[in-house]
Subunit: 304 residues, 2 copies
């Protein structure tokens, strides 16, 4: 129903070092449309929230409403007009009063840093984008700081509190660190491994190095990426006095989750930390790193 225009940014997060590749649809004439784009440091990305997960809930609401006032209102009236913001489980606000993807018109808006522009290929590398892989992009617009940077703008206290959420401490299990290195550089050569079998299975691009990719992954995990429901079911434990700072490897995880990042399937565990005044709320340890299976969209070049 929306004319898709540019395609396929990769997994992001509110992480400055996270990179996404945006591929313009070929029939857009990207070489002309992107002329001059690299002269801007930042841009807006308008995209479609194409993976909303509240459809079952909306269906129930609809069914109830159809019984109540059949024929009086359009089918989509009043469907989930209030949501609980992720970090404020007690609060309910209107969908227009927050940035939830569950909106009457599912259009997303994110600011990104322009890393590089390949006009001929129609590819733009963007940093800090919080979208999932395969998100259909509707538009790119340059960021105009003279009009769009308003330092005196104010937000309610519940938004301010969400800015101050402390970050988690990120660690790597030795096996996970070795798995990532092997995926990016190829496995270490054994005595009878021929050279051609040591090809890396994962390309770090658009990241410039393995280190940049690691930092972006760590930045994403440090945000505590659990859903509100997962946080409710697995709250951060009050740290027992026995947990010394840095002794997280002795503690048992209170939550294990996973994340698709870049071409990687990452398994992580949350571990309690000792009760220091400024301590992180928990520690997150990368447990495993597996390659992600190729999807048809990727094999096809990611065009929409």
């Amino acid at each position: 129903c929306y004319r898709s225009r540019c395609g396929t940014p990769r997994q992001g997060g509110i992480v400055g070092g996270s990179l996404a590749v945006l591929r313009c649809a070929r029939d857009l004439n990207p070489a002309a449309a992107l002329e001059g784009f690299s002269a801007f440091s930042h841009c807006w990305v308008l995209y479609v929230f194409h993976e909303n997960t509240n459809l079952p809930r909306e269906g129930k609401t609809l069914a109830r409403r159809q019984g109540q006032r059949k024929g009086r209102v359009p089918l989509w009236q009043g469907v989930c007009m209030k949501v609980a913001p992720p970090r404020c489980p007690g609060l309910r606000v209107g969908v227009l009063s927050c940035r939830t993807p569950h909106r009457p018109n599912p259009i997303g808006l994110s600011l990104a840093r322009v890393v590089s522009v390949d006009c001929a290929a129609g590819e733009v590398v963007l940093a800090g984008l919080d979208v999932v892989d395969g998100t259909p992009c509707l538009d790119l617009k340059p960021y105009l700081p003279s009009y769009e940077c308003v330092p005196e703008a104010s937000v309610p206290s519940w938004v301010k509190a969400s800015y101050e959420e402390p970050l988690m401490r990120v660690e790597w299990a030795p096996a996970a660190s070795a798995e990532l290195a092997a995926l990016l550089r190829g496995p270490a050569a054994g005595p009878d491994d021929p050279g051609e079998e040591r090809a890396a299975r994962v390309d770090p691009r658009p990241f410039g190095s393995e280190e940049e990719l690691r930092r972006a992954l760590e930045g994403t995990l440090a945000l505590d990426i659990r859903s509100p429901l997962q946080k409710k079911l697995h709250p951060n434990p009050a740290a027992a006095p026995g947990y010394a700072d840095g002794g997280a490897e002795e503690a048992a995880p209170f939550f294990v989750g996973d994340l698709w990042f870049h071409e990687l399937h990452v398994t992580y565990a949350l571990l309690p930390v000792s009760p220091q005044p400024d301590a992180a709320p928990a520690s997150v340890r990368v447990e495993r790193v597996d390659p992600r299976p190729e999807t048809p969209a990727e094999a096809d070049g990611g065009l929409v």
Copy 2:
């Protein structure tokens, strides 16, 4: 083709004091959707550029392309992918590298100040919005200065130069000033005018006073609202030595134009000014102010 969501802001301009009323479609359940919205000082407005004027030109381009490579590309390929920014007639940039309304997906994005919110009525008064009356609104999103205010963002020199465009000096012809006062307050009572015939024909709301409405109109005119073509046909004259500063009323206009603003049809004239170092490029004088005829959309409450 887009689900219209909120309706009908009024004429604006990049003018802080300009006000627009945004009316939510009634079937949106605005009372719920807007809950908490008034706690934000600024918001993004996503809307449809519904009055694009380049369709004839695009039609010509299309016809030419269809002859050239019939069937090889979608009908909309490469249609006007480069434009000349308004203040840079010599330059041509890609549509993704500027904020032109002539975009493959005609979605607009503007930042506005939240003036007031009436949840029950589903009406939001916004300041500084640069959209025309009747623009269909797709979404409202709160402005998050912690993520969206990036003072270090950089833009190319042609954008920087457009920030520094000097403003015009605005004056009122005495007759125009009296016409505006009569429209807002009703005509001055003659000896045999009954009271009920003195009703004002124009409501200043959402402006709080006649003075606020005047200032917003003056701010809009000071920007030199002529189209690039009008500017080319009627360039600012090199001021003759005889024009004294403040003596604009003696000079003949070099351009006369009009503007629909609020409920008003405004006729203005551009007059040359004397060649001072920091002088305005020209002077704009309000010549006439007429009431705007009511449109069906307004009579109907402005719902989309």
